[in-house]
Symmetry: C2
Subunit: 263 residues, 2 copies
DNA sequence: TCTTGTGAAGGGGTTCACAGCC
DNA sequence: GGCTGTGAACCCCTTCACAAGA
C-alpha cells in the first residue's frame, strides 16, 4: 500500500474506509468491462470474482456507498459505474503533471487508461534542457523552470513524480508550493510533505523484495516433511546481539536509489 | 497494497506479519543510506524518521526478527542491514525476467536499484518480432517463443509482467507453467494464478483514482465552516435504487485497460 | 539516564451467517 | 428461491506505556 492520508483526521466527512476506497477502482474496472459487453446486471458473486475479491467484502464495501443493489437480483451495472465514478470524483476532470520524462515518465505519459478516466495529462516536465520541446505522447516536454506557472495555469492538483530519487524531494516541494495537494511518487524516496498533502508511492524495488521474501520461504518449505525442526537456525538471542556478522561479505554499499534516468 | 499471499495459510513458518515484511525494504533502504555515510549506530527514533514511520512501529517490527538492538544505545547499522537482507532473502541471487519491453518494460530494465539488491535481470522478452535482438539496458530482447526455455535455463522464479492488459493473463499462465512462482504485475488486470503463486500488482490507474477520491474530498471540505450540513446530498436510499442516472452523460465505454504499448 | 523490547489496549478490516427484501 | 445488506465475531495491526537492561 502507499502512504496516503496525512489529511485532516477529525471530521472525516462520511466514514468510507480507506481499504474500501482502494478497492473501488477495481470494481469500477470490472464493471466497465461488463458495461462494454452490455451486461445489464451483476451479482456480488460474479462481480467479486471479476475483481478478484470475495463477495462478502464487496457487499460490505458497497454498503458504505448506499443500498445500490436489488435483493434477489444483483446490481445494475450502469448505475453502479456511475455511482462509483462519482464517489471517486471521476466525473470531473483532473489535470495532472508528470515530472521526469525518462523511460518511466514516457511510459506514464503514453498510458492509455490515463486519459480515459477523468485524468488529463496537462504537461510533461523535465529538468534536462535537451528534452525541452521534444514531443512525448503528443505533448511537448517543458522545462522545470516552468513548473510553477504550469501548475497555476492549469489548476493542477495532482502531480506525478518520475524523477531520480535525488531530485524527488525538491520537485515535490516545488509542486506543493505551487498548489499541488496530491502526489504519486515513483522515486524510491520517502517524501516529506506538509499536512493536507496526500502522497502515494509506487516502488518497484519494494515489491520485488516482498516477493523475494515469500519466494525464499517457499524454497524452504519444500523440504519440510514433518515438523520443520531446525531449518535456518536464526541467530536470535545469541550471546552478542550487536556484533557484526564477522566475515560475511555483503554486496557492499551501492547507489540503490537511482530511479529511471531522464533520457 | 498488492495482492500477495495465495500461499499456504497453515504452518505459517515463523509468524512475521505481512505488514512488517512490507516495511522491511523501507528500513533496509534507510539503513543502507546510513551505512554509506558510515554511521555506526542508529536509534529507533532516527531510523523511523528516515523511513517515514513511527518509532513504536519500527521497534515492534524489529522485535519479530529478534533482539537486534542494544538498550540505551540503538541498533548497529551494518548488523541490521545484514539481518534484514537475510530475512528478505536478498543474500541470494534472484534471476528475474521482464516480459513486455515497451516504455515501461524498458524503464524497469534500466532501473538501477534492480541489480543492486540481489535481483538480476536474466532476460527481456517481448512478443514483437521487430524488437527481437534489439539491445535494451545492455540485454538483447528475446522473443516470447523462448519464454519457457529462458525460465528453465535461468531458474527464474520471479517474473515481471509489463505487457498490455490483454496479453497479461496468457503471459502469466506461461510463466507459471514454466516454473515461475512470484509475479509482479504492471498490467491493469486481475491475474488468476494457482495456489502457491504470489502475485503483487502495481497499478497506476488505481493509485490515481485513490488520490482523486481524497482530492475531491479536500475540495469539498474547503467550504464547510461549521457543521457541514447538506453537502453533496448523495441519493442513498431514494425511491428507485436500481434506476439509471437518467440524463447524466458518462464519458462512455472506453478501452481503459491498455497498458503501455510494447514499442 | 537513555533506548529497546513488549504486554495490553484500541482500532480497522475481513469474514461469517442470517435477517430482510425482491 | 435467490441475493443483498449488515450485525457480530474474529483477526490483524497499530499505538501506548512501561518494565528491562545497557
Amino acid at each position: 500500500m502507499a502512504t496516503g492520508r496525512t489529511h485532516r483526521p477529525a471530521t472525516r466527512s462520511r466514514g468510507i474506509p480507506e481499504a474500501t476506497v482502494a478497492r473501488l477502482p477495481l470494481y469500477l474496472r470490472a464493471l466497465t468491462a461488463l458495461s462494454e459487453r452490455s451486461v445489464p446486471t451483476v451479482s456480488s458473486e460474479e462481480l467479486a470474482a471479476a475483481a478478484g475479491v470475495n463477495s462478502a467484502k464487496l457487499r460490505k464495501d458497497f454498503s458504505y456507498l448506499g443500498s445500490y443493489g436489488t435483493r434477489g437480483v444483483g446490481y445494475d451495472v450502469e448505475y453502479l459505474v456511475y455511482q462509483i465514478s462519482r464517489e471517486l470524483g471521476l466525473t470531473q476532470d483532473w489535470p495532472v503533471v508528470i515530472v521526469g520524462i525518462g523511460n518511466l515518465g514516457a511510459a506514464l505519459a503514453n498510458y492509455g487508461g490515463f486519459a480515459s478516466r477523468g485524468f488529463r495529462v496537462a504537461a510533461l516536465i523535465d529538468a534536462d534542457p535537451a528534452l525541452s520541446g521534444r514531443m512525448v505522447a503528443g505533448l511537448p516536454v517543458r522545462h522545470t523552470d516552468e513548473l510553477e506557472a504550469i501548475v497555476a495555469d492549469n489548476q493542477v492538483s495532482i502531480g506525478v513524480i518520475a524523477t531520480p530519487a535525488g531530485a524527488a524531494q525538491e520537485v515535490c516541494d516545488r509542486l506543493v508550493a505551487a498548489g499541488v495537494t496530491s502526489i504519486l511518487n515513483f522515486a524510491p524516496t520517502v517524501l516529506a510533505v506538509p499536512d493536507g498533502v496526500d502522497v502515494r508511492k509506487v516502488d518497484l524495488s519494494i515489491e520485488l523484495q516482498i516477493l523475494a521474501f515469500h519466494e525464499q520461504r517457499k524454497a524452504g518449505e519444500e523440504l519440510d516433511g514433518a515438523v520443520a525442526a531446525t531449518r535456518r537456525p536464526l541467530p536470535k538471542a545469541d550471546g552478542a546481539p550487536a556484533a557484526r556478522p564477522a566475515g560475511d561479505e555483503r554486496p557492499g554499499p551501492d547507489g540503490d536509489l537511482p530511479a529511471v534516468m531522464p533520457a
